[in-house]
Symmetry: C2
Subunit: 244 residues, 2 copies
DNA sequence: CGTCGTCTTGAACTTGCTCAACAACCGTGG
DNA sequence: CCACGGTTGTTGAGCAAGTTCAAGACGACG
């Protein structure tokens, strides 16, 4: 089974075997990180890049009034910040949400990888997709209703987790509390709770503990106006699932 | 007087004179574009990069229900898309808001510029600031009140326009309708109107036609919780204004 | 001088929030 | 194995921010 990073990058295009071997080396000595642990804080200047191998992490920012906005989810195969090197200081914080496996990749190793044309292109692709996702999230909180926001997020995660082999049909593990979901889609935890119940009531999903089942993907996509183009997958319909 | 692009890039760090001359050459033969004109549409694959020299443009996306969300403003000195080359298709549309002066820079010229280390670094810096701005906008619509959203946007534009020499003290030209402002901050035009009146009533701004005067920058920043760190300017307080 | 877009105002309405209480769940230690 | 405490999820009722619809005023420009 391919490692998550390679799987993700190959969603853009195939990589030479030599490159894949390099990527395999990188993900040695991962460390385990507890849930709700800051990996890099706003204001810091990290000298290495974190790569998530297991679990969910996020980028977030606090506002003066004490509210939190999560601005990105980081799932297995995602880099925390590929090009922090250029900027003096982080303008946001990165933290784990669930229990995670994380690798710290030192700057020189990243630069070495960037020498490989196929890898360099794949890295840029990943960075551009991150930005496109940010735009889509802005649209989510900007114009969509509460139901649509949650539904859209669930659709996005289905595709993203699919590309790294973490789905089983239309089922995946969502190790996120409703409060965290709320901080993501710009709603309160109470309201997210009611939204989830309506989605359940409409026969769109089941969500028990961390186990999410999307019962009717087509309807969930239609409801949220989901269009996967912003993820820039070569196969726009998502990869055919090779089950576990 | 330096050209807008050079001014912007030097907000990151000084450029060699030879590089500046190259940047001057690029901005020849600009063309004039009417307001509300699409420059690149969702789905297209452009072969050149647009650079805004005068006026305001934006990135936006439509949702199935016919609402529009503006996800970025492009002001003089801003590139429309520096690295579209990697992706197959645009996932959003770019359009002018006001009358604009725009240059089309063909792909090979961009690649030639990227050979210059100082320019390459400055380009990446600009791209990263774009992404950071997107995060801040997500926070804007995610957690801030209507007043704060508008106030924050006005503070951001003050700094951005200051770095390209388009402010006069705390005054600048804002060639944007209230409806467009609404599509930017995730409110209705009616409500934006009421918010602006409250900001006027509180002695924070005047806005007559396209002429914006910020009467009390400190209070406007405090109100919106504005922190300029995400713009990653070398001088975090904004450049000292060298008036026109 | 009329027309079209933009701005302004009012009043009813709706979505999502706040506050508060309670239930279900999970890991820990006795 | 059960009791306990803390976190997460659920429910209700009142409230507030922002929306919707509709009409009128202003202003720029032919």
């Amino acid at each position: 089974m391919m490692n998550r990073l390679t799987r993700k990058l190959e969603a853009f295009g195939p990589l030479p075997d030599a490159d894949k071997r390099l990527l395999d080396e990188i993900i040695r000595d991962a460390r385990s990180v507890k849930p709700r642990t800051d990996l890099i804080r706003e204001g810091e200047t990290p000298n290495d890049v974190n790569l998530i191998l297991e679990g969910f992490a996020c980028r977030y920012k606090m506002t003066p009034n004490g509210t939190r906005q999560i601005v990105a989810y980081l799932v297995p195969g995602d880099f925390c910040d590929l090009h922090v090197f250029i900027l003096k200081a982080m303008d946001h914080t990165i933290a784990t949400l669930s229990q995670c496996q994380v690798v710290k990749i030192p700057r020189p190793r990243i630069l070495a990888l960037m020498e490989r044309p196929a890898i360099a292109r794949a890295f840029w692709w990943a960075a551009l997709v991150d930005e496109a996702t940010l735009r889509e999230w802005l649209i989510n909180v900007g114009v969509r209703t509460a139901e649509q926001r949650v539904a859209h997020l669930l659709c996005e995660l289905l595709l993203r987790l699919e590309t790294v082999g973490l789905t089983n049909g239309d089922t995946y593990e969502l190790p996120i509390t409703q409060a965290e979901l709320a901080d993501t889609v710009g709603l309160t935890a109470v309201h997210v709770n009611r939204v989830l119940q309506r989605l359940r009531g409409d026969g769109l999903i089941t969500l028990k503990g961390k186990n999410l089942v999307i019962l009717d993907v087509a309807r969930l996509k239609a409801l949220s106006g989901f269009n996967p183009n912003y993820l820039h997958l070569s196969d726009q319909n998502g990869l055919p699932e090779q089950s576990v």
